[in-house]
């Protein structure tokens, strides 16, 4: 029977939750990297025992950990993220130029084919790549230097490159998202980039339809249709059918279209999930009710999923990295909260159960489906 491994990064370490394919009984590990913030941890699709974890703290900065045995043991690898050439400036919160300064790794995206090749999205926003298993990191500076970089500015969480999506059919095409700059695409393996934000409207900006400056929270792609992506923007849920050349709003009947996570059913490319959050100044669900919303129509028509989720007095948030799906026949959906709960649904969202209640605030959730 298959095994499901849920990798949970929290404010105070990593927890690995393991179950069989029934996903009813869970084994919860002791924390790894206890006391450290783990912004993200992800395994290589090419070798499920190869894992990368972003370990950081205000005291000691960034550490990158690598495991070659499925998380049983870890080795610190390279943590030297040096911007290419003159780092230059981006906009600070007050609009003044501010030098680019590395703070932390938000996201690791291992290559689909090579366990030693990994992309890293960092704050201040830039994309790095290793081809030697994390020993050395090189900036793909065509992104930061394509022209709009000096106009990027931080969102409330910092100026972070938080999402990296590889086109499963074209290794030269990568999508990335930055708060608060927007979404960008390369079609030549990272050498050159272009902003793909046409159709995004952010009313808070001086020019709501500007080429860059949008606070994109998360993007997701289904392997069966790499030209279709879904986006949870600061406000608005968006969809593109032409690889980001233009976007259309699909918020439809959501109670609020603010939120952080968005993900796609592993077998149904039109079935998407979001967790609506009341607003950017509240960061908790509307009416104290934690509801996942599911659309089976690629957006616009949404249904609340509440069975097993708290429907009163719930004031947690679900951060942008904190939702994932497994690839079992009956798709499992997982998300973690800032209250330390990790919820699992073994029936594509129809019902939910908490795997664990009392972890530190959850920063990221990834899932491995193992044979």
């Amino acid at each position: 029977m298959s095994t499901v491994r849920v990798l949970v990064g929290t404010r105070k370490g990593v927890f690995v939750l393991t179950s069989d394919g029934k996903r009813e009984k869970w084994d919860i590990s002791e924390p790894a990297f206890a006391g450290w913030e783990i912004y993200h941890m992800k395994a290589s699709p090419a070798d499920p025992n190869r894992m990368y974890a972003s370990q950081s703290s205000g005291w000691f900065g960034q550490v990158v950990q690598r495991s070659d045995d499925g998380g049983k043991s870890w080795t610190p690898v390279g943590n030297k993220f040096i911007y290419d050439g003159d780092a230059g400036t981006h906009q600070w919160y007050d609009g003044t130029p501010h030098p680019w300064e590395f703070k932390r790794v938000w996201h690791f995206e291992p290559s689909a084919t090579d366990p030693d090749t990994v992309y890293a999205g960092v704050e201040d926003a830039a994309l790095f790549k290793t081809t030697d298993g994390g020993a050395n990191w090189t900036e793909l500076s065509g992104l930061r230097k394509h022209g709009s970089g000096p106009r990027w500015q931080p969102g409330a969480g910092g100026m972070c490159l938080h999402t990296i999506v590889q086109d499963p059919t074209n290794p030269e095409r990568i999508f990335i998202a930055i708060s608060a700059a927007g979404t960008f695409r390369t079609d030549d393996g990272g050498a050159t980039w272009k902003p793909i934000n046409h159709g995004l409207v952010s009313a808070q900006m001086p020019d709501p339809r500007a080429e860059v400056g949008h606070c994109v929270h998360r993007i997701a792609l289904h392997k069966s249709n790499p030209n279709r992506l879904f986006m949870q923007k600061h406000w608005d849920v968006m969809r593109t059918d032409n690889a980001g050349d233009s976007w259309t709003e699909v918020s439809g009947n959501l109670p609020t279209d603010f939120g952080f996570v968005i993900d796609i059913h592993s077998h149904e490319p039109e079935t998407i999930y979001v967790v609506p959050i009341k607003s950017d100044s509240f960061h908790f669900p509307p009416d104290g009710q934690l509801r996942v919303y599911r659309s089976r129509t690629g957006g616009n028509e949404w249904e609340p999923l509440t069975k097993g989720l708290p429907q009163s007095n719930c004031y947690v948030n679900v951060l942008r990295e904190a939702m994932a799906v497994d690839s079992l026949d009956e798709c499992g959906v997982y998300f973690g909260t800032t209250g330390g709960q990790v919820y699992a649904s073994a029936d594509a969202g129809d019902s939910w159960n908490p795997i664990v209640h009392d972890l530190p605030p959850v920063l990221s959730v990834e899932v491995q489906t193992l044979p």
């Binding site: 006391g35 000691f60 900065g61 610190p76 040096i82």
Partner: protein, 223 residues
């Protein structure tokens, strides 16, 4: 080469895979923070970037370097370390600071406070009051009402507060509320702190504030 002892925070010992609280390093002379960190990172490459920046080599802001009861964090990194460290008699401590190091200041003040009879400390909103029985004789103030100062306020003889401020306005200041009642502030956010002076100020204030029976138990000249 000198054999140098370095005490690392627990998290860094984990990354370095060292179980003991202390590591020993062979360091080329002259022994400085810079040469010790060079040797440390050479032996434990996983610590590169965790104590100082990869490129600028600047100390990470929340870390401190202590040795021989002194805070060396703000000294030039190529300044010679105290002979006791260079000889291996004392270790160099790499310490994770809390709130900019005010905890270590409070620990020093606690030690002075413990010299006086029947004293205690209470903490409130980042500040602390040192009491003899129930009477406060010194305040540790951390950005009191947003004044940006970390300091110690003590009672002094009438008129001495203004005289002290006039004598060294970079060191002494008039604290809010209690300044008008004969108290003076001594800044603790300066590069060098004269702890003998701090102890003398606290002792004088203790004698002025404590019940006579307790005040007589400690001796202070000219008060």
């Amino acid at each position: 080469m000198k054999t140098i002892r370095v005490v690392l925070p627990g998290h860094l010992r984990t990354i370095a895979r060292e179980e003991g609280s202390e590591v020993t390093l062979e360091v080329a002379e002259p022994v400085s923070i810079q040469s010790v960190l060079d040797a440390l990172e050479s032996r434990y490459p996983a610590l590169e970037g965790t104590i100082r920046d990869h490129v600028t080599k600047k100390r990470r802001p929340f870390l401190r370097f202590f040795a021989c009861s002194e805070d060396l964090s703000h000294d030039p990194v190529d300044a010679p370390l105290p002979e006791a460290v260079a000889s291996g008699a004392e270790p160099l401590l790499v310490v994770g600071a809390i709130a900019g190091g005010t905890t270590s200041l409070l620990e020093r003040l606690d030690k002075i406070n413990a010299r006086f009879p029947e004293t205690s400390r209470y903490d409130q909103a980042g500040h602390a009051g040192f009491q003899v029985r129930k009477k406060v004789f010194a305040y540790f103030l951390n950005n009191h009402h947003g004044d940006g100062i970390v300091g110690l306020a003590c009672k002094v003889l009438p008129g001495d507060n203004q005289r002290l401020i006039d004598s060294d306005p970079a060191k002494f200041y008039m604290p809010a509320y209690v300044g008008s009642r004969g108290w003076v502030g001594l800044r603790l956010d300066t590069k060098k702190i004269d702890w003998d002076e701090v102890a003398e100020l606290m002792l004088g204030s203790y004698v002025l504030c404590a019940p006579k029976t307790l005040a007589r138990a400690v001796s202070i000249p000219n008060v």
